[in-house]
Symmetry: C2
Subunit: 281 residues, 2 copies
């Protein structure tokens, strides 16, 4: 998914009758969970996350936050377009390091006091600023500054003990880790089930239970991610097509366009660093 708005802060309080499938954005996403969530997928780990947690998802990391069907799912969501943020803060500023795709997703626990304080600041912003304005930007960066100090403090304290992983989640996590190690090889539900000595229908059902998506969908999302990384590193479209085992350019083009919204060559053009030019004499 592409997000074009600079940033969006929202409070949501609704059931998830049809949850989003695991997906990625060109955005830093920060969730403040106000409900206990049984299945939170980040990269290759599904876990349950207790309410009052900050979930930090750097751009281009697969994720899905999911509550039981027809159960209230209360959270604050902040999306920040990473191109926008990069432009605003300038190259190499070192600010908000978790806005870099090289950063891993993190789950941080807030103290009850910290949680109450943060909620009231988020509510304050949402009430004051229904429309963009210069003072909205001022308050937005003030909010970012508060969030950032919480996050940096939480990361140093490594208070990441809030994910708990059930036995069936552990199985799924092993499957996802296997998939991520073998993205450039042929992968089918059958071959993965065989690898784990599992019945393929059982595996498919278990995977769907925790992610509301098929294994095939997860593989596609991660392959599209890998393709984007390879293109940004400067590999040619043909190289990437072959490395990822696509039998034809047309098939790879169609796949990439569907997953990212743009063509592989356009993505490469937009995301590769230009070769540095020697200064003109």
């Amino acid at each position: 998914d592409r997000i074009d708005a600079p940033y969006e802060l929202a409070y949501r309080n609704n059931g998830t009758s049809s949850p989003a499938r695991p997906h990625t954005h060109n955005a830093l996403e920060i969730y403040l969970t106000m409900s206990d969530l049984p299945d939170v997928l980040l990269d290759d780990t599904v876990s349950s996350v207790s309410k009052g947690s900050l979930i930090i998802i750097p751009p281009h990391h697969v994720h899905q936050l999911f509550n039981q069907k027809l159960t209230i799912y209360e959270r604050y969501v902040l999306n920040i377009n990473s191109d926008w943020l990069y432009t605003v803060l300038g190259a190499g500023s070192g600010l908000m390091p978790y806005a870099d795709p090289a950063f891993s997703p993190a789950i941080l626990r807030l103290s009850p006091t910290g949680l109450t304080g943060l909620c009231s600041q988020l509510d304050h912003y949402l009430q004051l600023h229904p429309q963009p304005s210069l003072s909205a930007y001022a308050d937005f960066f003030s909010l970012l500054s508060i969030l950032d100090s919480r996050i940096q403090h939480g990361l140093q304290a490594s208070s990441t003990g809030q994910r708990s992983i059930s036995q069936s989640q552990k199985n799924i996590n092993e499957v996802m880790a296997f998939i991520n190690r073998h993205l450039t090889e042929p992968l089918t539900l059958e071959s993965i089930a065989a690898e784990f000595y599992l019945n393929k229908d059982y595996l498919g059902r278990l995977f769907k239970e925790h992610t509301h998506a098929t294994i095939g969908h997860y593989i596609s999302v991660q392959r599209a991610n890998l393709a984007q990384t390879m293109l940004a590193e400067g590999r040619t479209v043909t190289e990437v097509q072959e490395l990822l085992g696509f039998s034809s350019y047309a098939y790879f083009f169609k796949f990439f366009k569907k997953m990212t919204g743009i063509s592989p060559s356009q993505y490469r053009k937009d995301n590769t660093m230009p070769l540095s030019h020697s200064p003109s004499p």
Copy 2:
């Protein structure tokens, strides 16, 4: 001149032993003058400006602020890169309309109380934020919000009575207006002097007295400006070269590169709006 930093706020308090010649930036520039200035050039008008004035200079407008040699010239200067600002605020936000090159420069008078308040806020920012940080961005947008309300209020009140124009400045202003009407025609000191029934040496001296530059420099700056506008509107490099009366591409290329730092074709590429594509089916 190209400005690459997002923004820069500075307090300066020094004589102008060698003033900058009339010039343009890709930046919105806002001055708060703390000294009386005898010669302030904006577009095609030189005037004196009393201290305690806000001078708003939209991107790509020729300007020069000049005090007597060896006299203290005290001012706050805020530069905001216009590409950066456009990205931050988003297209068509309507915020800070004077950041658009289509806006004319303006001089606003602050009340003594308003001046004191604004100075203390500028000083506060400068003391608190020697380095970029998220709270610096917060305070920067807060400062912009304050400045903006002052500017919008001042523009509505049309309190622009603070420029006073001497007789010799009036003569120079007529000359500049003439130049700007005839940028696509051959212009020389001789032909301009003849137009105004003036001795060319006298005209040259008078022009230099108020702008610290030659008429030739002023013509070049305005021709480069016009060339940029024409290229941004989509005219080809050859069309612009011919419209501006350059006898060869090589001569135009050299001129444009020297004035803007980049080649005409690169400028055109960076600044023309792409043709809108029909959405893919």
